[in-house]
């Protein structure tokens, strides 16, 4: 920097007249270079620094002495600068190292001025030599602090169009490193003009604070950065000086933003989680509701069954005892049909409650399917048609007809839903062995593979894998329970078969029920054999009937008595056991399963302890007979007719006689 020289320097300085105040003010030494005489005069401090004895300086020194203590590396630079002064440059302001007599290197700031003669010729070069070693170190620390910390400094004096900056300041803004910048340039980096980084000259106002943040566009790479400005405002008379720093806070800002983002998404993640949980809870509630409805339905159906039982038994006996009359017979038949429809209804309710015993019977699959084509086609609607094709001779399967029909209908509805635009649904069957079928979980043996095939949307692997899970549905809310395929799968397993799905996206789905072939006619043979025996052979029997429902008890007794048997009635298991102990001549025990305090199977076990040879018939409307119950016990489904009761008696006696 160049500026006007302080007035004090216009006076001549000689070694013998060094102003003591200058030395006291911190001047390390001073010189007076007489250009015309080519002599150098120095004061005692200068001489001391240069290691020259004060005596030797008394009459001045050769001007070359000025350079003698200067560090060799700095000497050429200073020689050039002095040459400039001697040629008319105004100001000498250089920093350089000197090596003292004791070998210590000190940093000096030499500041001098050239004095011109009246003819504008340089005549004298005077100046001060100030020890700035401490300052240089402080500057070094400041410089390192700036570069290491990425902090740029600036100083602005109001009224000027330029601002003094550090090189780091320029780097932070992406500007070419320099020490002075136009205010306009500094403010030119701002991405928006809301606030100024450095006040512009004609602002007039003194800023209240330097603490602010700015969005800038870095000038070298054009990147958007956030910087912070901090500092102090120093008032000087009417004006002010701003001394401050700037530093990049982009990463802090980004972290703040990331944290905020994380917080925001956390909220939405929690929301998602809550939605999932709500869905699970909803599904659980649905299951519990179904369970409760099932319990309730099962209970009602059970009681209903007993009532129907009483009605049907009474009707049978009534018909027998009334004189033959066509009108009466018709009324009784009507009542009987109504009761039978009620019984069918309770069976469906029990199936819903999953308490129905599977009634396995020999079924001809093509026959069964043929019988339900009308029903299926009506259910599907006009846009879909069935293509039913079975080979000529398929062996029968052992299954529950109702359940199988429901399964086929369910699969047909699924096939329809996979072809929203309509189409043909094929139902086919094939006879194959487990080895040839290559289906997982299928035991050895022969099966009928009953397939329902569509050419619809198909499923991807993920959907296919989940298809038989309970509550899995691709249908909209309210359109499907998601239970259909899982029930079909369970049904097939219960029969000793399985259920498979093959599907390809866009090509369609083949759903196959693997149903075991009915082994032989043996299972249905024994009852036929027994029933073929002469009825009178069994003779009048002494039958112990147990039921907690008085109505049923009375009806069953009436049916048995009508068949010519002697009946002992008990309304609990305990009472029945008491009778068994007292009457050793009881031929057979007929007990209800569902009774309080003691169930039918419990009673059967205790009765067997008393009389190991006692034939037992267990009557139940539930599918609730425990798996471990004695296999010799004959089961009788409620409601039963007199014929069914008679059939059961014969069966029980025949099982007994086989042992």
């Amino acid at each position: 920097m160049m500026s006007d020289l302080p007035a004090s320097y216009h006076s001549s300085i000689r070694a013998d007249s060094i102003d003591p105040f200058l030395a006291a003010a911190g001047a390390s030494g001073s010189w007076d270079w007489d250009i015309l005489a080519d002599r150098l005069y120095v004061d005692v401090h200068f001489a001391e620094l240069y290691g020259i004895s004060p005596e030797a300086t008394a009459n001045g020194l050769p001007t070359s002495a000025f350079f003698q203590a200067i560090h060799p590396e700095d000497r050429p630079r200073i020689r050039i600068a002095v040459a400039g002064i001697l040629a008319g440059a105004e100001l000498f302001s250089k920093e350089f190292r000197i090596v003292t007599r004791t070998g210590v290197t000190l940093w000096m700031h030499g500041r001098g001025q050239c004095h011109l003669s009246g003819e504008e010729k340089p005549v004298r070069f005077t100046g001060l030599l100030v020890d700035v070693t401490e300052r240089r170190r402080a500057e070094e620390r400041l410089r390192i602090a700036q570069t290491a910390g990425g902090i740029g400094t600036f100083e602005y004096v109001d009224g000027f169009a330029t601002v003094s900056v550090s090189e780091e300041f320029c780097r932070v803004l992406g500007l070419h490193p320099t020490i002075v910048l136009p205010v306009q340039t500094v403010n030119g980096v701002l991405a928006d003009g809301a606030a100024l980084l450095v006040p512009e000259m004609r602002d007039g106002e003194v800023p209240s604070t330097l603490d602010a943040e700015f969005l800038i566009t870095r000038q070298d790479d054009g990147s958007a950065r956030w910087i912070a400005r901090r500092g102090e405002i120093i008032r000087e008379g009417a004006g002010y000086r701003l001394i401050g720093v700037i530093y990049d806070i982009t990463s802090t800002k980004e972290q703040e933003a990331a944290l905020r983002e994380l917080n925001d998404t956390l909220e939405s993640r929690v929301e998602q989680e809550v939605v999932i949980r709500q869905k699970a809870e909803e599904a659980l509630r649905q299951v519990q509701k179904m369970e409760a409805v099932g319990q309730l339905t099962g209970g009602i159906a059970h009681d209903f069954n007993n009532l129907l039982m009483a009605i049907m038994s009474s009707l049978i006996l009534l018909q027998k005892r009334l004189p033959a009359d066509a009108a009466i017979d018709r009324l009784i038949d009507n009542a009987m049909q109504g009761a039978q429809r009620g019984a069918a209804l309770t069976q469906r309710m029990l199936a819903f409650a999953r308490r129905q015993d599977l009634v396995s019977e020999r079924l001809e699959v093509p026959e069964l399917v043929a019988g339900m084509i009308d029903l299926v086609e009506r259910t599907l609607g006009p846009a879909w048609s069935l293509d039913v094709a079975f080979p000529d001779s398929l062996p029968p399967v052992l299954a529950d007809a109702n359940q199988l029909e429901m399964a086929i209908l369910n699969l047909a509805v699924n096939a329809r839903d996979a072809m929203p635009g309509g189409g043909i649904i094929r139902i086919t069957g094939a006879h194959c062995d487990a080895e040839a079928a290559d289906v997982g979980g299928l035991a050895q043996g022969s099966y009928i593979a009953l397939s329902v095939i569509d050419t619809g949307e198909g499923m991807d692997e993920e959907t296919l894998a989940k298809a038989t899970e309970p509550f899995f549905t691709t249908k909209g809310v309210g359109k499907g329970t998601g239970l259909g395929l899982s029930m079909i799968h369970g049904f097939a397993k219960q029969l000793g078969g399985t259920f498979t799905l093959q599907s390809a996206l866009g090509l369609g789905t083949r759903a196959t029920l693997w149903l075991p072939i009915a082994q032989s006619a043996a299972q249905t043979a024994p009852p036929q054999l027994v029933s073929s025996e002469p009825r009178g052979a069994s003779g009048p029997l002494k039958v112990l009937v147990v039921d907690d429902d008085g109505l049923i008890l009375m009806n069953t007794a009436a049916l048995l008595e009508d068949l010519g048997h002697v009946v002992i009635e008990a309304n609990s298991g305990e009472m029945a056991l008491e009778y068994l102990r007292r009457h050793g001549d009881i031929d057979i025990l007929i007990t209800d399963q569902a009774m309080p305090t003691m169930t039918g199977t419990q009673l059967a076990d205790l009765a067997t302890e008393l009389r190991g040879d006692l034939p037992i018939i267990l009557a139940s409307g539930y599918g609730d007979i425990p798996a471990g119950s004695q296999h010799r016990i004959v089961k009788l489904g409620k409601p039963f007719t007199q014929a069914m009761l008679e059939h059961a008696l014969l069966e029980a006696l025949s099982v007994h006689s086989q042992h």
Partner: protein
């Protein structure tokens, strides 16, 4: 590369800085007498850069269009010297130079003349000092005022190679209470720059002698 071959050694740079410093000192002295106010001048950097780079160096610092006073010089090294101001500064400079006694209309009328005169003082001081210190003589044309962008001033042709070299002296000169700043640039071709280097080396040898 050309730039590396031509770039100045540290001492050459010091020497050239010092020589320009002498010239600027004289110019500042003249300017102070003309303006009668405190003038701050600096010679912070001397660079040999391409014309493209020089244009960028200035455009990085100046948003507005520029005004330049141009003088061509010829001698052992020849080229063109430019004193450059932001255009918004030029009237302020005229006002400062003319002592603020003129009406705005008069200032506008005087602008060209005042700028030429100011440019002449500063550029002449620099060029004459250089010639003197390097013990050569230069001839100069009369000053001419140019206006335009930095690219225009440095005659950067977008289609051309833009490979000419510029001796770029970035001089801040600030006048207290006046929004004035400017730059000095000398455009020289490579042979001229090589000659300048040789002359600087001669100067260094003369001044420093055995210490090099």
């Amino acid at each position: 590369m050309t730039l590396e071959r031509i770039s100045l050694a540290e001492l050459e740079r010091d020497a050239l800085t010092e020589i320009v410093n002498i010239g600027v000192s004289r110019a500042a002295s003249s300017l102070r007498k003309m303006i009668g106010d405190q003038v701050l001048l600096s010679v912070p950097s001397i660079e040999v850069v391409s014309q493209n780079r020089a244009a960028r160096l200035i455009s990085e610092r100046e948003v507005s269009d520029l005004v330049a006073v141009r003088q061509d010089f010829a001698g052992p090294f020849s080229g063109r010297a430019l004193l450059i101001f932001p255009e918004t500064n030029s009237l302020e400079l005229v006002r400062a130079v003319t002592g603020g006694e003129l009406t705005p209309q008069e200032v506008l009328e005087m602008e060209g003349e005042a700028l030429s005169e100011t440019g002449n003082v500063i550029l002449n001081a620099c060029l004459a000092t250089m010639a003197n210190m390097l013990q050569r003589s230069l001839t100069m044309t009369i000053p001419e005022v140019l206006r335009g962008t930095s690219a225009h001033l440095f005659e950067v042709d977008p289609a051309g190679p833009g490979g000419g070299l510029v001796l770029f002296l970035y001089i801040d000169f600030a006048v207290r209470s006046r929004d004035i700043r400017g730059y000095i640039a000398m455009i020289m071709d490579i042979p001229s720059l090589e000659t300048l280097k040789e002359l600087l080396d001669e100067f260094i040898t003369r001044v420093v002698g055995d210490d090099v």
